[in-house]
């Protein structure tokens, strides 16, 4: 999964704009637009309802089994989670910062290609990479054959790494998540700190010393942003840790809920995970804010790259290629091999049906979510400056927290809300419409709702980032020319936000394609998507049949990565 792209460089060029500036003052004097207020409030309530429902669930009776959970299970779950997060942060940090530095500072064969190709592993859902590596490192698999060929049957077998373990999960997650850190730290290296790097070098510092004494300290906020995103993703990962039998909070939550029968306990664990992620989000925002003021107003790439040629150049090329080989090439090759051996008629038609369904579903969800996200962000921007406006702004931030809840917990919240809605609203209304019983639970609407709540922060983040680049003078000029806020939104903001809206929508689209736990639980009758198909086959240990849908999800995931890499490329070569 992916969070909003931190396009800090672009914020730089237009200068920071903070809420509570002239626009809100202006709006307050003009009269707050009531319809916009109402629409925003309705949007917030809608999106926040399932999150609140989960809070209510967490207040329920935890059951007599809770002392056992707290005494024996919870400490282990927390410890495993800490190890996982720490491990992923360190390893993806080394890969991400290291490759970003090499690509930004040195010129070597295919350097330009790597500068965007290093983002590609991001497209791979972690659970898909996990499936692929289990097959790759299996007894009898390619690695096994090489090892036994080299060291003999006994030795080779002992040397085979145990991928289904905590270190295995750390590696798999790091391989698909390092691009977040690569992206933020590269932007920092070529952008604001570029000038300082030049100065450091002209003052006689070696590259090594420049890296540690200038580049890293300056890029620290950027690296922190990347790491916060990486840790958020690791914390909410379920597929990998489940498959590898690592009892982290997200996996242990199922034990508490299903085998211990404590729904409230599971909801509490979910809420505490939300707390941690909310904290990371705050840190990320703080990092971003600091970064905004850290550098000079004008961005500048470092004067020139150091040219590395010959054997050294190729060695560097090989080194930088490693993350792509392990994060993308090997898993994709394994999947292609598996898929090729399993393609047959019946499976293929099931595949096409669910592929079509996934695309329509994810497309609709992306559109709905980005529209709602735009409404919330724009509503927050124009709300004004008083107490109620402050409250509204906090609430729109709260509405973005769905991202921080484990998918299945959020699905339970959605179930509760829709069940109550059907019961309290639709039922009294008669529910009959041309003789058709109208219900929201168990329909596509339930799924769309769940996706909107889950991925709202992606929409909001991208739109907010886009809105900060639109100077409040635009709003003022428009208003003095007699346009209301709706008309402004339509004529000024939306056209100017096109890029941000597209990025947000594509990110949401891809995440919806991958989403599994909520889809499994909320889907209508006779309904398979690519993600549920992959899961169903994989849970039957039929990785061959799971390969084709898994591969498709991965390919779709490449879409936003290309989009982003193009943007990043622009930044890198101003």
């Amino acid at each position: 999964m992916s969070a909003q792209i931190p396009l800090t460089q672009q914020t730089q060029t237009t200068g920071p704009y903070k809420y509570g500036g002239p626009v809100s003052h202006f709006v307050r004097t003009v009269q707050a637009p009531l319809s916009l207020w109402t629409a925003t409030v309705i949007g917030v309530v809608l999106v926040a309802a399932p999150i609140i429902a989960v809070m209510v669930l967490a207040l329920g009776e935890v059951g007599d089994i809770w002392p056992l959970v707290r005494g024996t299970m919870l400490p282990r779950m927390i410890w495993n989670t800490v190890l996982l997060l720490g491990g992923v942060a360190v390893i993806s940090g080394v890969i991400g910062v290291g490759t970003a530095w090499l690509v930004s500072m040195y010129q070597f064969p295919f350097g330009r290609f790597f500068s965007w190709a290093l983002l590609l592993p991001m497209a791979m859902p972690a659970y898909v990479v996990a499936y692929a590596y289990v097959d790759f490192l299996d007894l009898g698999g390619p690695v096994y054959q090489v090892l036994t060929g080299l060291f003999g049957q006994q030795q080779g077998r002992l040397l085979l790494p145990h991928i289904r373990s905590l270190p295995g999960a750390v590696l798999v997650l790091s391989l698909v998540l390092y691009p977040y850190i690569y992206m933020t730290s590269r932007a920092a290296f070529v952008g604001q700190s570029g000038r300082f790097i030049d100065v450091s070098r002209t003052l006689g510092h070696s590259m090594f010393s420049t890296f540690w004494r200038v580049a890293i300290p300056l890029a620290r906020p950027a690296i922190a942003i990347g790491m916060a995103l990486v840790m958020m993703e690791s914390l909410s990962d379920f597929g990998t840790v489940d498959f590898f039998a690592v009892k982290t909070l997200s996996a242990g939550l199922y034990d508490v809920w299903l085998s211990m029968g404590s729904l409230a306990g599971a909801a509490q664990i979910g809420m505490s995970m939300l707390g941690v992620i909310a904290l990371l989000m705050v840190l990320e925002r703080m990092g971003r804010r600091r970064q905004r003021f850290a550098g000079p107003v004008q961005t500048s790439a470092p004067a020139g790259k150091i040219i590395v040629s010959g054997v050294k150049g190729w060695a560097l090329c090989l080194l930088v290629a490693l993350p792509i080989v392990f994060g993308l090439l090997i898993p994709v090759c394994v999947l292609i091999k598996l898929a090729a051996s399993s393609v047959e008629g019946a499976a293929l038609s099931a595949y096409f049906e669910s592929a079509g369904r996934s695309i329509v579903l994810a497309g609709s969800a992306a559109l709905i979510t980005i529209s709602l996200g735009m409404l919330l962000a724009y509503g927050a921007r124009t709300a004004g400056n008083g107490r109620p406006a402050q409250a509204l702004r906090s609430l729109t931030q709260f509405a973005g927290l769905g991202y921080a809840l484990p998918g299945v917990v959020l699905a339970l919240g959605v179930l509760t809300v829709l069940g109550q809605f059907d019961h309290l609203v639709l039922q009294p209304l008669g529910m009959q419409f041309f003789g058709v019983t109208l219900l929201t639970s168990g329909t596509v609407l339930a799924l769309l709702f769940a996706y909107a709540v889950r991925f709202m922060s992606l929409a909001q983040g991208n739109v907010e980032a886009g809105l900060t680049r639109i100077t409040p003078h635009m709003d003022m000029a428009g208003r003095t020319l007699g346009h209301g806020p709706w008309s402004l939104l339509w004529r000024v903001h939306i056209p100017m936000l096109r890029g941000a809206l597209l990025t947000g929508a594509v990110l949401i689209f891809v995440d919806c394609m991958k989403e599994l736990p909520a889809t499994l639980l909320l889907r209508p009758f006779n309904f398979e998507t690519l993600a549920t198909l992959t899961y169903t086959y994989a849970s039957l240990e039929q990785l061959e049949a799971a390969a084709l849908p898994a591969l498709s999800i991965a390919l779709v995931g490449l879409l936003p990565v290309f989009l982003m890499s193009r943007r990043l490329d622009k930044i890198g070569h101003l």
Binding site: H162, L258, V360, S364, T416, V436, S441, G442, T443, S539
Partner: protein
């Protein structure tokens, strides 16, 4: 510019319209279905396991079967939907989940002579709230090469130090293992079961992971010598070209056949409390215990039919007959919680 905007708007409306149209057409289909007959199933069972049965039912009655499959959260979905739930029949894979939906009041009793005649009394609820459909024995799959015939015959022996580093199993907290451990608690009491669990934990070749099939795969790969699993997985693997080699590497051992019998669990069904298609639901439930459906279970799913007189499949027969533990299922269900506590207290999954 104007034109692109309009096109964009058009595309947006179009995309928005699709899910609504899909929902509406589904709803309309539902209504149309009510005429021809339709029944909605919430299934914990893998779709490919039950689809042939539903196809048989539709062929016979013309009633369409709609399914939604989820392993986690079905009971919560039922509860949240309440009186509006479209669910008619609930299919589960074990006694635990069957008792879970029953205890939460999500099912309704069904009084049917067809059902009570076909299903032995110890495999159904006395009040008709739940019914067992098939039984499956929880057996040991032992390596043909590395475990001598008769070297292990009882669950008790899994605790023997001679198997140190040689046993594989899925998570102890999984419903299948919980039911097995609950049956041991019923027979031995908590203290002895705990000692046994600790000893078995010591003997594990690896941390519990994967499903029953994955354990047999591990035996085939030489990671361990004894796997614990349900019988029907064997049939599933033998008939899967990619997995046949795993099954060929092991032999089925029915534990405790010479004394109290092998632990047996059921897959089962119940009628949802607010079933909108009660008659169709009842028809489906009765069909599932018919000779035809029970034979299908035996032939295609390699499970043991609950109905007396229905032949086992040849493959199932080839594993041999066995004595099943006659402990009642409700007794096992009673000890489930204790079993789960023991699993976590012993750190079995760690």
């Amino acid at each position: 510019m104007k034109l692109t905007k309009l096109m964009g708007l058009g595309a947006a409306l179009f995309t928005l319209a699709i899910p609504v149209a899909v929902t509406a057409s589904e709803a309309a289909g539902e209504m149309a279905g009510e005429v021809a007959g339709e029944v909605n199933v919430y299934s914990y069972r893998q779709p490919n396991l039950v689809q042939p049965l539903f196809d048989g039912f539709t062929a016979k009655t013309g009633i369409k079967v709609n399914t939604v499959f989820a392993k986690k959260g079905m009971a919560e979905r039922l509860a949240a939907e309440g009186a509006n739930s479209p669910a008619d029949v609930i299919l589960t894979v074990d006694i635990g989940r069957l008792m879970d939906v029953t205890d939460r009041g999500l099912v309704q009793p069904v009084a049917s002579d067809v059902l009570s005649d076909a299903i032995p009394a110890n495999l159904r609820d006395a009040d008709g709230q739940w019914f067992g459909l098939t039984t499956r024995a929880r057996v040991m799959f032992v390596s043909k090469d590395r475990v001598a015939d008769g070297a292990i015959t009882d669950y008790e022996q899994l605790a023997d130090p001679q198997w140190k580093g040689r046993i594989c199993t899925r998570s102890g907290a999984h419903a299948y293992n919980v039911a097995l451990i609950a049956s041991l608690v019923a027979h031995w009491g908590e203290a002895k079961t705990m000692t046994w669990l600790k000893a078995v934990k010591e003997n594990l070749a690896r941390k519990p992971q994967g499903n029953d099939r994955a354990q047999v795969k591990a035996v085939a790969a030489g990671e361990c010598d004894i796997a614990i699993g349900n019988t029907y997985y064997m049939g599933k693997m033998i008939n899967n070209p990619d997995q046949k080699a795993w099954a060929d590497a092991v032999r089925v051992v029915f534990p405790n056949s010479d004394n109290r019998g092998t632990h047996v669990n059921v897959s089962g069904m119940a009628m949802a409390k607010h079933a909108p298609h009660k008659d169709a639901a009842r028809a489906l439930m009765e069909y599932l215990v018919s000779d035809e459906a029970q034979a299908l279970y035996a032939e295609q799913n390699y499970e043991y039919p609950v109905k007396a007189g229905v032949a086992w499949s040849d493959l199932v027969k080839s594993w041999g007959t066995f004595k099943g533990d006659e402990l009642s299922l409700s007794k096992i269900a009673d000890y489930r919680k204790k079993a789960i506590v023991l699993v976590h207290l012993t750190g079995f999954d760690n």
